[in-house]
Amino acid sequence: MADGRGPETSQELEAFRNETRAWLEANCPPLMRTPMGEDDAVWGGRNWKPKHPEQKQWLDAMASRGWTAPTWPKAYGGGGLTPQENLILQDELRRIKARPALMSFGIWMFGPVLLEFGNEEQKKKYLPQIVRGEIRWCQGYSEPGAGSDLAGLQTKCEDKGDHYLINGQKVWTSYANEADWIFCLVRTDTTVKHEGISFILFDMTSPGVETRPIKLISGASPFCETFFTDVKVPKENLVGKLNGGWEIAKRLLMYERTSISAGGFGGGAGALPIEEIAKHYVGVEDGKLEDRDLRARIAAHKMYDKAFGLTVRRAQEMAKAGDNVSHMASMFKVAAATMNQEKTELIVEAMGNRALGWSGEGFTKGEILAPRAMLRAKGNSIEGGTTEVNLNVLAKRVLGLRDHQ
């Protein structure tokens, strides 16, 4: 137990590590080991045009081994790795500072539920495309009147005999304007609430689909309003049972919360630690940040951040050991949102008036990005389940507190 990894650190795993390291050494292009810029993320899809040939090369190499979705079964294009092997793969990727080969709602959210709820035909059709980054997916969940109360959704899906007909409106559809397909919650029974929801898939190029980007307070537009007018969908695109979509929806939300929390809310590669930013803008006296009040708050934040990281690692180890850690998803979501908001606010505060610019002359690129990151982070406690909803979930499902009777 000297390395803290437990007794499964067998010779086989060491062999896997060596082999992985060698393969990555040979297959990860040098450019793909440098920090990512703002728009260097690879999301794949039909309309993707690589900025650099190395991006395609790296994606294809990883996809060829199924390592864009390392733990999915090989039968569906995945890597077929055990959780232990996947930890080693991730270790080795971190070691060479490799960029993610592919960002994908298909891998993080849709794939896992399709593996559980989809039929064989669906899995064979959709999963390999996801692994290879050929089809980019978006998520049709929230509606204008159904945010926290997701099950209040109204988008109508009618059975027209040989096809379904969809009419309604979604909102907060991430990158809907760039996605190829959508996994979507629709109402197939208006007489009941949760039991009248179905989970369905369709092509975003279908006639009747329209998207309109939403401009955020941070200036960016990663989300869309999405309108469906008489969209025809083949009947085999239903996942799971008719009116059985809520179970799938909940499971997917759990994956979403976990992926949001584990991935963090941005401020990724290349971002300086807060204390380095603060040292630059605030100044140092006797080796300590001159603003001692700010220093104490930065320290408290970093300690919270460290505690969070340790807890994510603990959950991974628990999951590996076979414990059920699903109750932790809401906790990670709440804590990750708090933390990213705290972090981006502390950076803005440390930068003082240099973080009050919006664009143009007089500010560095980092100075322009800081307030936008702070503004964007306000959404972290809203998207993917509000902090309020997640606290409700914790109180009820984890602590066993009841509603008013």
Binding site: V171, W172, K215, I217, Y281, E349, G352, R354, L356, K378
Partner: protein, 360 residues
């Protein structure tokens, strides 16, 4: 200390009517799109006609001498709708600096123009990312200014600059026309769409304004006046949010009927009431020329900063997804909040100052 005179009540009512009608948040959006200066000169002229630019100016120089409480009420109303204008820089900071520290000639030259709305003034203080008047380095030698000022509020539209600078080791204020030789103004596009400026001085001719004691006097006025504006922002942000809680439905219930939100709203209400007392006390301390102005200025600015920070965050959160959209108002309050929080010292700065003023 807290009771308004009838004159002040009337001033507030008229300010509210004007701002609500002519400068709702839609006005800020229009300015953001179409006015690179960050404000509308036609409305600025109307403000001057209403007498707002002369509130702190003696009658002999064309003002109404309605005092700081009166000025605060107007700034608070402007804060409610985030109404953009150089009122704070000019009518409060500029006018009080010259009225307090100016020679008879300086007063005669500048105050009537300020009262008439013909002159925009800006105070150039900070030299780094943070408010630190005790560390001012910009120097005056042989009547000439050399150095750099950062993020001068309304510096990009000012006609006259009041510049804090060190002469013979002592920090004092100096007057410099914005178009003087040796002055280079870089306009900044800011988070709150009002604009500001970084300003470089290279041997610019500077005329002394008042003695060293004027520096803190003017800064405390700037802080208290800004706190009044922030109180207005926070009050409106809170009221708008309360209304939203009473109309938005989720899970078949008004979201304002959820107890967790009710308690958070109630706590904001308490914070706002406490902040209001601090701002009013600080404003009346100025009018009464009391000896606890410095302490009350730090109190008002820090508490206004913390309250506005809280309320602007909760405004977004309680509006949910809609609060994140550029089309809704929460983002506008949030952006102006962060600018106002930093100007003339953050809450952290003023906690430190409050402790120092209390000898610990």
């Amino acid at each position: 200390m807290f009771t308004l005179s009838e004159e002040h009540e009337m001033l507030r009512e008229s300010a509210r009517a004007f701002v609500q009608e002519k400068m709702p948040t839609a006005h800020l959006r229009a300015v953001r799109e179409a006015k690179p200066e960050g404000f509308d000169r036609a409305l600025w002229a109307e403000m001057a006609q209403l007498g707002w630019t002369g509130i702190l100016i003696p009658e002999e120089h064309g003002g109404s001498a309605l005092g700081y409480v009166g000025m605060g009420l107007v700034l608070e109303e402007c804060g409610r709708t985030l109404a953009p204008s150089p009122l704070h820089s000019t009518a409060l900071v500029g006018a009080s600096a010259i009225a307090l520290g100016g020679t008879a000639a300086q007063k005669n030259e500048w105050l009537p123009k300020i009262a008439a709305g013909e002159l925009i003034v800006a105070l150039a203080i900070d030299e780094s990312a943070h408010h630190a008047p005790e560390k001012i380095k910009l120097e005056v030698k042989n009547g000439q200014l050399t150095g750099m000022k950062k993020y001068v509020a309304d510096g990009h539209v000012a006609d006259l600059l009041i510049v804090a600078a060190r002469e013979g080791g002592v920090v004092k204020h100096f007057l410099v026309p914005a178009n003087a030789d040796g002055v280079t103004i870089t306009q900044l596009k800011t988070l709150d769409s009002r604009g500001a400026a970084d300003i470089a001085f290279k041997g610019a001719k500077a005329e002394p304004l008042g003695g060293p004691e004027l520096v803190d006097q003017v800064l405390d006025r700037a802080r208290i006046g800004l706190a009044a504006e922030m109180l207005g922002q926070a009050s409106q942000a809170f009221e708008t949010t309360s209304e939203y809680l009473k109309t938005r439905t989720q899970f078949g219930q008004l979201i304002g009927s959820f107890q967790a939100l009710q308690h958070r709203a109630a706590k904001m209400f308490v914070e706002l009431e406490l902040t209001r007392s601090c701002v009013l006390a600080a404003l009346s301390a100025l009018d009464e020329n009391r000896n606890d102005i410095a302490e009350l200025a730090s109190l008002a600015k820090a508490r206004a900063g913390e309250t506005l920070h809280l309320v602007s965050n909760e405004m977004v959160q309680m509006h949910g997804g809609i609060g994140m959209t550029d089309a809704a108002d929460p983002g506008l309050y949030l952006k102006r909040a962060r600018v106002a929080e930093a100007l003339y010292g953050s809450a952290s700065y003023h906690r430190d100052r409050y402790a120092a003023l209390n000898n610990f």
